[in-house]
C-alpha cells in the first residue's frame, strides 16, 4: 500500500514529556485521525513531521520522500488551530502573498473556495470569526493542489455547523485517490464521521493504530460485577476500569466474547469510550 505519510520511530524529548518512538502511516486516499487527550503528543508529532521541531531520531517520509524540500512542501496543505495569517491581511491580499510563495497556487480555486465558504474577499482577517478564519485557512491549504492535508486541531472551538461544513470539505478532498488527510483532534465524534483509520496517542506513545470500522464494529465494553470480572480470561481484557457499581472491560472482539460469556452485557464502544478506558483504565 502506498503511504502519503509514514512516520517510523519518531522520538523527541522535552524536560517533562517524551514522544516515544511514534510510528504510523497515512495511506494514500485515506483520512487518518490522530486522537489523544491534551498534551498526549499529537501536535508534537505533527510539528516534528513538518520539520517545525528537530526530531532526535526516527524517519518521516512524506509523499515517498524523506527530505522535506520545497517540492514536497508545495504538495502539503497545513492547517493549524487558529488561522496563523497576519490579521491585517484580507483574503484578497493573502491571495497575492500566496501566489508569490506557491508555484502551484491556483487563484481560481482559491476564489471559488472563498465564494463557496461565503468569505468576504476584502474584509480584514481580524474581523473574521474563528469559523471564518478556519475556512480561510482550509481554502488556502486546498488552493495549491495539495496531495496531503495535515490539520492540527483545526475543528476545535468551532460550532457544529461550521465543523460539519469542514468535514464535508475534507470528505470531498479524499474523493481523489491521490489525496490523503492526517487530522488531529480530540473531538472524536468528528473523526468517527470521516476517518478511515484511528491512531491513538497517549503520553507520547502510540497505543494503537487501527481501521476505524474495526474499532466501531468489533471493539466493545463488557460491563460486569466483581465476581464475573474475576472469572474473565485475562487474555480477553485489553484494559479495564472499576467504577462504583460495575467493572468496564475493553475487549477487541465483542461477538466472539459474547459467545464465550453469554451472560455478560457487552455493548459497542465509541472512540471516546475506547480512549477514556485506555487513559483511565488499568491493564
Amino acid at each position: 500500500m502506498n503511504n502519503a505519510l509514514k512516520i517510523s520511530g519518531l522520538t523527541k524529548t522535552y524536560k517533562d514529556f517524551m514522544l516515544d518512538h511514534v510510528s504510523f502511516a497515512v495511506p494514500c486516499g485515506s483520512i487518518v485521525g490522530l486522537i489523544g487527550e491534551n498534551g498526549a503528543g499529537k501536535s508534537t508529532t505533527i510539528n516534528a513531521a513538518l520539520g517545525l521541531i528537530q526530531k532526535e531520531s526516527g524517519v518521516v517520509s512524506i509523499l515517498k520522500r524523506e527530505s522535506l524540500d520545497q517540492d514536497i512542501k508545495e504538495q502539503i496543505g497545513v492547517v493549524f488551530d487558529g488561522s496563523n495569517y497576519p490579521e491585517i491581511l484580507s483574503p484578497r491580499k493573502l491571495n497575492r502573498v500566496m501566489k508569490n510563495i506557491y508555484q502551484s497556487w491556483d487563484e481560481q480555486t482559491y476564489i471559488s473556495l472563498l465564494q463557496q465558504f461565503s468569505l468576504p474577499p476584502d474584509k480584514h482577517i481580524k474581523q473574521f470569526s474563528k469559523g471564518m478564519k478556519m475556512k480561510l485557512a482550509i481554502s488556502a491549504a486546498l488552493s495549491h493542489h495539495s496531495k496531503l492535508l495535515i490539520l492540527d486541531e483545526a475543528t476545535s472551538g468551532l460550532d457544529p455547523v461550521v465543523r460539519d461544513d469542514i468535514l464535508d470539505m475534507l470528505l470531498d478532498f479524499v474523493q481523489d485517490e491521490e489525496h490523503s488527510i492526517l487530522v488531529s483532534s480530540h473531538i472524536t465524534s468528528d473523526l468517527e464521521k470521516i476517518a478511515d483509520y484511528i491512531v491513538f496517542i497517549h503520553a507520547g506513545k502510540v497505543i494503537f493504530s487501527r481501521p476505524k470500522d474495526e474499532l466501531i464494529e468489533q471493539y466493545g465494553i463488557l460491563k460486569c460485577g466483581a465476581a464475573q470480572f474475576d472469572a474473565l480470561d485475562r487474555s480477553d481484557i485489553i484494559v479495564y476500569r472499576k467504577l462504583d457499581y460495575e467493572w468496564q472491560v475493553l475487549i477487541s472482539d465483542r461477538e466472539k466474547l459474547q459467545r464465550k460469556y453469554p451472560k455478560a452485557l457487552i455493548v459497542p464502544a465509541t472512540i471516546d469510550e475506547i480512549m477514556l478506558l485506555y487513559v483511565k483504565g488499568e491493564k
Binding site: I53, Q54, D71, K73, V78, N84, P86, I88, I101, Y102
Partner: protein, 209 residues
C-alpha cells in the same frame, strides 16, 4: 521569498508611508536649523522600524509556524527580513534626498561631500544596529527584542565612535574624514552580512511551536 516580502509590505505599508512623509516634512523643517543633508543620518534608521512591526505581527499571528510549512526555507525567511531591512534603509535614504535636492535647486548650500558623509554615517548606524537587533528578534520574545532594537541604535553610535577612534590610529580622521567613514560603512556591511549568517544558523536549529 517574494511572497513573504509582499506580506511584510502589506503589514508595514501605513508605517512606511507615515515615516517617509515625516522625513520629507522634517527635511524641509530642518533646513532652517541645520544642513538639510544631516537628515541622511536619521532617515535610514527611522525607516527600518517597519521591520520590527512585521516581526511583532509575525509573532502575534504565529505566522512563523505557518510559513515554515510552505515552500520557503528557514534561511529564506531570515534572508527576507534582512532584505526588507536594507530596502527600507535605502528607501529612507532616497526619501531624505528629496528635500535635499529640492532645497539645492532653490539655492540652499547642499554639498556632495556632506551628503556622502552623513549618508555613510546613517547607513553605517543602520547596518550595525540591524546586525545586532535582527538575530535577537529570533532569539528573544517580541517584548525583549523591541528593547534590544532600541538599544541597538545606541550601541551602533558607540561602535561607530569606537571604530573612528581605532581608524584614527592609522589614518588621521581630520584630514580624511570621508575615507574614514567609508571604511566604517564597509565594516558595517561586513557585520550585517555576518549577522545574517548567524541569524540563519540560529533559526535553522530553532524549534518553532
Amino acid at each position: 521569498m517574494r511572497g513573504v516580502l509582499v506580506k511584510d509590505l502589506y503589514i508595514a505599508k501605513s508605517n512606511i508611508l507615515v515615516t517617509l512623509v515625516s522625513l520629507i516634512v522634517l527635511g524641509f523643517g530642518l533646513s532652517f536649523l541645520l544642513e538639510p543633508s544631516a537628515l541622511l543620518v536619521l532617515a535610514p534608521v527611522a525607516s527600518t522600524t517597519a521591520v520590527f512591526i512585521s516581526i511583532t505581527s509575525d509573532a502575534a499571528s504565529r505566522w512563523n509556524k505557518n510559513v515554515i510549512t510552505m515552500p520557503v526555507s528557514r534561511s529564506q525567511i531570515i534572508g527576507e527580513k534582512y532584505v526588507f531591512y536594507i530596502l527600507l534603509a535605502i528607501l529612507g535614504m532616497g526619501t531624505a534626498l528629496i528635500p535635499c535636492v529640492i532645497l539645492a535647486l532653490l539655492g540652499v548650500n547642499v554639498t556632495l561631500h556632506a551628503l556622502c558623509l552623513y549618508g555613510s554615517i546613517g547607513m553605517s548606524a543602520t547596518l550595525l544596529a540591524g546586525g545586532i537587533s535582527l538575530p535577537c528578534a529570533y532569539v528573544f520574545d517580541p517584548e525583549k527584542s523591541q528593547i534590544v532594537f532600541m538599544m541597538s541604535f545606541m550601541a551602533s553610535t558607540g561602535i561607530i565612535a569606537g571604530l573612528v577612534l581605532l581608524i584614527n590610529l592609522f589614518i588621521p580622521v581630520k584630514h580624511h574624514i570621508l575615507s574614514v567613514f567609508h571604511i566604517v560603512l564597509l565594516i558595517s556591511v561586513f557585520w550585517f552580512i555576518l549577522s545574517y549568517r548567524i541569524a540563519a544558523e540560529i533559526y535553522q536549529k530553532q524549534d518553532i511551536t
